[in-house]
C-alpha cells in the first residue's frame, strides 16, 4: 500500500534569537555586526525530536498528547507551514489544513468575497470556487448572511464558513487540529459526518485532538507524542488506554501498567482490603500476589458489551475479569476499588463484604461487576481489582492499573453524582435549556 505521509526521524527545533529581549533592535544589530550573522540562534527549543511514522493512503491517523507535546508543530510541518529542522517528510497530494478556521478572512468584506479569496488561498482556482460556492454556503448554513461583511458574523458563523471552505477544497490529505471544538453540537456532528464521508472516499486524514473518544471512534492508527517524541503508536484503543493511564497516574502508572501486563511484582505489601479504604495516602499503582488465582484480563464494557475507556456519566459500566485458577480452591474473594485520578477512594467492595460465600473455583472463569449507572462527575478514574483469600492474603492484586474517563453534559463538581432532580414552585420560573448531544461514540 502506498503512503500518503512518510516521516522519518522528523525533528523541529525552534530558535530563539540573541538578546533575550522580545523586540530586536537595529542598533544592536549594527553595533554587534552584520544583520544576518546576528540571526544565528542562541537558544533552541526542540518541539519535535525524531518522530518516525507513516500514514497509508486512505487511513485516518490520530495524534494525541498533552499540551506542548509537539502535536501542533507536527501538523504545521505536515501542512508545509514550517520546515523540519532534521529528518525527512514526504506528503503526497493536495493538503488542506484546518488549523484555524477562517484564518484568512478579512472582516470588512462580505462572506461571499471571503469565500472566494479563502478558496484561492487554499489552492482552488477561481472557477472551482465558483462551482462549489453554493455547496459551501449551504454547508455553512449562511445563505442569509453571505453578503454581509464578515465582521458582523458571530464566532460560530465565522468558524462554520471557515470549515465549509476548507472542507470543500477536497484535499487528498486533510489535516485537522482540534477545530471541531467550535460551533454548536449540531454543526460539530455535521463536520464529523463530512469527515466520515471523506474517509469513505478513501482520503487520508490526520487528526490532532484531545478528544480521545473521537480518536478511538475514527482513527485507524494513533501516534502518542510526549515532549516531542513518539511514545506510543498503533491500535487506537491500546494507545488511548496507555495515554489515559499515563495522564491519570503519571509516568509511574505507565511503568507499573507495563509491568502489570508482564508478570512483575512490586515490593509493597498488600493493602488491608480490596478497595483500599486507606487509599488517597500513598496510593501507588502496582501488582502483587502469588497468582494461584490470576486475573488474566480486565475489560470495561458498555451496555452493548463493547470494550470502552470513555463513558458518559449515567451510563452502565461492566467490569469483566477473566480469572484463571492454577489449582482448585474454595478460599477466594473478588474485590473492586474505584479511585479518582489523584487517588481518592470513591468506592470499594468485595464479594466477602457483600456476603457471598465461596464454594468452588477451578480453571477458567469470568467475574463481572456490573454498575447499573455510572453516577460520577467528569474526570479520569482508576480501578483496583483483586482476588485474595478471605484472610486478605493476595492471589493477584492489581492496583490502579486500569483507568477510564467519564464525560458529562453537566459541569458539576465533586466525585459522585447522586440521582437527583430539581423542582420549583411558587414565584419561580425556570426553563431547561436544550442540552446538546455529547456522546460521540454512539452512531
Amino acid at each position: 500500500m502506498s503512503h500518503a505521509v512518510v516521516a522519518v526521524e522528523l525533528a523541529k527545533v525552534y530558535r530563539r534569537y540573541q538578546h533575550k529581549n522580545q523586540f530586536r533592535t537595529l542598533k544592536s544589530a549594527i553595533l554587534t555586526g552584520s544583520l544576518l550573522s546576528d540571526l544565528r540562534p542562541e537558544e533552541t527549543f526542540t518541539a519535535l525530536d525524531g518522530v518516525t511514522f507513516e500514514v497509508p493512503k486512505g487511513a485516518t491517523f490520530g495524534v494525541i498528547g498533552e499540551n506542548g507535546s509537539g502535536k501542533s508543530t507536527l501538523l504545521k510541518l505536515l501542512a508545509g507551514i514550517t520546515k523540519p529542522t532534521r529528518g525527512r517528510l514526504q506528503v503526497e497530494g493536495r493538503v488542506s489544513a484546518l488549523i484555524e478556521l477562517g484564518a484568512g478572512f478579512h472582516p470588512e468584506i462580505s462572506g461571499r468575497e471571503n469565500v472566494m479569496i479563502n478558496g484561492i488561498m487554499l489552492g482552488l482556482s477561481r472557477r472551482q470556487v465558483q462551482e462549489r460556492f453554493q455547496e459551501i454556503v449551504a454547508f455553512a448554513e449562511l445563505e442569509r448572511f453571505i453578503d454581509a461583511p464578515v465582521k458582523t458574523y458571530s464566532s460560530g458563523m465565522y468558524a462554520r464558513l471557515g470549515f465549509a471552505v476548507a472542507i470543500h477544497v477536497d484535499p487528498d490529505v486533510l489535516l485537522i487540529d482540534e477545530v471541531l471544538a467550535v460551533g454548536d453540537e449540531a454543526f460539530t456532528r455535521k463536520c464529523l459526518d463530512k469527515i466520515g464521508e471523506f474517509r469513505r472516499r478513501g482520503r487520508t486524514i490526520v487528526i490532532v485532538t484531545h478528544s480521545l473518544g473521537l480518536v478511538e471512534k475514527m482513527c485507524d492508527d494513533v501516534l502518542w507524542l510526549r515532549e516531542g517524541k513518539g511514545v506510543g503508536r498503533g491500535d487506537p484503543k491500546r494507545v488511548v488506554d496507555a495515554y489515559l493511564t499515563y495522564v491519570a497516574g503519571g509516568e509511574e502508572a505507565l511503568l507499573a501498567r507495563e509491568h502489570g501486563r508482564a508478570p512483575a511484582e512490586t515490593a509493597e505489601a498488600p493493602a488491608a482490603g480490596p478497595g483500599g479504604t486507606e487509599a488517597g495516602h500513598g496510593y501507588r499503582e502496582g501488582r502483587w500476589g502469588d497468582r494461584e488465582v490470576e486475573i488474566a484480563r480486565v475489560r470495561l464494557l458498555d451496555a452493548r458489551g463493547r470494550e470502552r475507556h470513555v463513558f458518559v456519566s449515567g451510563e452502565p459500566l461492566t467490569l469483566a475479569m477473566d480469572v484463571r485458577a492454577r489449582t482448585a480452591t474454595t478460599d477466594f474473594v473478588f474485590g473492586v476499588g474505584l479511585f479518582t485520578a489523584d487517588g481518592v477512594a470513591v468506592y470499594g467492595t468485595n464479594t466477602d463484604l457483600e456476603d457471598f460465600v465461596p464454594e468452588a473455583l477451578e480453571g477458567e472463569a469470568e467475574v463481572r461487576f456490573e454498575i447499573g449507572a455510572l453516577r460520577l462527575v467528569e474526570g479520569s478514574y482508576l480501578l483496583d481489582v483483586a482476588a485474595h483469600k478471605r484472610d486478605g492474603t493476595p492471589y493477584d492484586y492489581h492496583r490502579g492499573l486500569y483507568s477510564f474517563r467519564v464525560r458529562s453534559h453537566t459541569k458539576d463538581v465533586g466525585v459522585h453524582r447522586p440521582e437527583h432532580r430539581w423542582s420549583f414552585a411558587g414565584g419561580v420560573a425556570m426553563r431547561s435549556a436544550p442540552r446538546p448531544e455529547l456522546d460521540l461514540r454512539e452512531e
Binding site: Y14, R15, Y17, F23, R24, T25, L26, K27, A29, L35, L36, L39, K76, A79, G80, I81, T82, K83, V95, A97, I99, E100, A103, G104, H106, E108, I109, E113, M116, I117, I120, M121, L122, S125, R126, P149
Partner: protein, 261 residues
C-alpha cells in the same frame, strides 16, 4: 530570483483577489469610496500648491511652469512608491495569522501592497491626464508611460520584499522608515527640477534610482519629449538588482517568518 518570479506568477489569481479585496476593504464605509484614490492626490496637490505658489512663490525655473502641473506629474508616482514601502513594512506582521495558520507564500503580501498602491496610482492617473489635456500638453510621448511604470514596479517590489522581511526581525524599521521616506522624498526631484541642479547635489541625486524615474515621468508627461534613456536604463539595472537582493533576503528569512511574526 527566477523562482521568486515563478511563485508570483503561480499565485497570480490570489494576488489579484487580494488586491481587489484590499481596494474594496479600504474604502468600505467611506462615503466617497473609490473616489478617494482620485481625490487624495488632488488634495496633496492643493496643499503643496498653497505652500509653493502662495506662501513661497516664484522660486522655480520657467522650465517647470505651470508648477502645479509639474508637481502633479511627480507626486503621483512618488506616492505609489512611498505608500508601498511604508505599508509593506507592517504587512507581514499584520498578516501573521495567514503565515502561521495557512500554507501561504508570504511574499504575496508585500507584492499585494505594491499592486494595490499601483491601482491607486492608476486611478489617480485620469485626473492628471485631464489636467495635462487642459493645458494642452497631452502628446504622443504618453505612449512611453509604461516604461518607467514597469521599472518602478520592479524596483518597488524588490524594496518591499526586503523591507517586509527585515521588519519581522527588526521592528524598529517601522519607526524609522517614515523618516527615511520623508528624506528620500526631498532627495528626489518631485518639488524641484532636476535640470536646475548643479554641482555635488546633482551628482548625489544621480545615484538615486527614483531621480531617473521621476525625470522620466516628468519628461513623458509634462515636457512631452523623452531623452532620459540612459537614466531610465540605469534605474532598471538598479531595480533588477534590488529585486534580486530583495528576493534573496526574503528567501533566506522565509523559514523564520512563521516563527517570528
Amino acid at each position: 530570483m527566477l523562482q521568486e518570479l515563478r511563485t508570483l506568477l503561480r499565485y497570480r489569481p490570489l494576488i489579484q483577489s487580494l488586491v481587489a479585496r484590499d481596494l474594496v476593504a479600504r474604502y468600505r464605509g467611506s462615503m466617497l469610496g473609490f473616489f478617494w484614490s482620485f481625490v487624495n492626490p488632488l488634495l496633496q496637490l492643493l496643499t503643496y500648491g498653497l505652500v509653493f505658489t502662495v506662501i513661497l512663490p516664484g522660486r522655480h525655473s520657467p522650465a517647470i511652469e505651470p508648477y502645479l502641473l509639474f508637481f502633479f506629474c511627480g507626486i503621483l508616482p512618488w506616492t505609489w512608491f512611498q505608500s508601498s514601502i511604508a505599508e509593506s513594512a507592517g504587512v507581514l506582521l499584520a498578516g501573521g495569522n495567514l503565515i502561521k495558520k495557512v500554507l501561504f507564500p508570504a511574499e504575496v503580501l508585500p507584492v499585494v501592497t505594491v499592486f494595490a498602491n499601483l491601482a491607486h496610482f492608476l486611478l489617480g492617473l485620469p485626473a492628471l491626464l485631464a489636467c495635462l489635456a487642459y493645458y494642452g500638453r497631452l502628446g504622443p510621448t504618453l505612449l512611453l508611460l509604461p516604461l518607467p511604470l514597469v521599472v518602478q514596479l520592479v524596483l518597488t517590489i524588490g524594496l518591499a520584499l526586503l523591507v517586509s522581511a527585515l521588519t519581522v526581525h527588526f521592528r524598529d524599521i517601522q519607526s524609522i522608515l517614515a523618516h527615511l521616506l520623508h528624506l528620500w522624498f526631498f532627495a528626489s526631484p518631485v518639488l524641484y527640477f532636476y535640470g536646475d541642479l548643479t554641482g555635488w547635489v546633482r551628482q548625489l541625486l544621480r545615484f538615486n534610482p527614483m531621480t531617473h524615474l521621476l525625470v522620466s515621468y516628468q519628461q513623458i508627461l509634462f515636457h512631452g519629449s523623452f531623452d532620459h534613456w540612459r537614466g531610465l536604463g540605469a534605474s532598471l539595472a538598479v531595480a533588477l538588482l534590488l529585486f534580486a537582493v530583495g528576493s534573496f533576503f526574503f528567501d533566506r528569512l522565509r523559514d523564520t517568518l512563521a516563527e517570528e511574526v
